[in-house]
């Protein structure tokens, strides 16, 4: 039960990071710190594959469990 929701929590964490970096990206853009903005955008894009991998791994884990 406990580790069943571990991946959900991980995904929520990823989403939280998404929110943080999106906000950071937009603000840095308007402050004209384009480098920071670009870095945040890259992180944001990179978070998607991470989220997808978490989801994929979760599928395998559950099917072997029950």
């Amino acid at each position: 039960m406990k580790h069943k929701y571990r991946n959900v929590v991980l995904l929520l964490a990823v989403l939280m990071l998404n929110i943080i970096f999106t906000q950071y990206m937009v603000h840095q853009y308007f402050f004209e710190h384009y480098k920071n903005s670009l870095i945040a955008a890259i992180i944001n894009v990179g978070l998607f594959p991470i989220a997808f991998i978490i989801y994929k791994n979760d599928k395998k884990g559950v099917s072997t469990n029950e």
Partner: protein
């Protein structure tokens, strides 16, 4: 399971024999996770334009270099006077003010409240917006009274051979 179905009467619990509630909660969780991954995808895709714009800005592709533009001759503007001009586009109205013998300031004079043209009040040494009495500091372009909250964009000027040129619009610094 199947042999039970052929017996009459059914057992009470047979009424739900074809409803399989196993894994229902697990599916919910999976669906939720799918939504989360989708949301991460939306975030990723929506970051792309910002990233591209930032990259463009960094490589200097959109660093607009306007050709310098002559505003007026030094002779024709007295200390304490102002002239209107347009920079960088023909609809971007701007104002040049001669503060002292050698000090000129220029701003795009669309009020940062609702874009009324700001004018120079010589007696009070302030820039005033007639629409809602917004006032701006003439040295910095900062708003000092009224509804505007952002400074006027400053225009860099250059003096060459007795003429005043607008060179570029200073970047907005927050």
């Amino acid at each position: 399971m199947s042999d039970k179905n052929n017996k009459i009467p059914f057992n009470e619990d047979n009424y739900t024999h074809n409803i399989n509630r196993n894994n229902e909660r697990k599916l919910d969780r999976r669906g939720f996770m799918k939504t989360l991954v989708g949301a991460a995808g939306v975030f990723a895709i929506s970051s792309l334009p910002w990233g591209t714009l930032a990259a463009k800005e960094l490589t200097g592709l959109s660093d607009k270099k306007y050709p310098k533009q002559k505003i007026t001759d030094v002779k024709s503007i007295a200390v304490g006077d102002a002239v209107d001009f347009a920079f960088p586009g023909e609809h971007d109205s701007a104002i040049l003010i001669r503060l002292s013998e050698n000090k000129y300031v220029a701003y795009q004079n669309a009020c940062t409240h609702l874009r009324c043209p700001v004018f120079w009040n010589k007696n009070e040494e302030e820039m005033i917006c007639p629409c809602h009495h917004g006032k701006f500091n003439v040295q910095t372009g900062e708003p000092i009274a009224g509804p505007p909250r952002r400074p006027l964009p400053e225009i860099q000027v250059k003096i060459e051979n007795g003429a005043i040129y607008a060179v570029r619009v200073k970047r907005y610094e927050a």
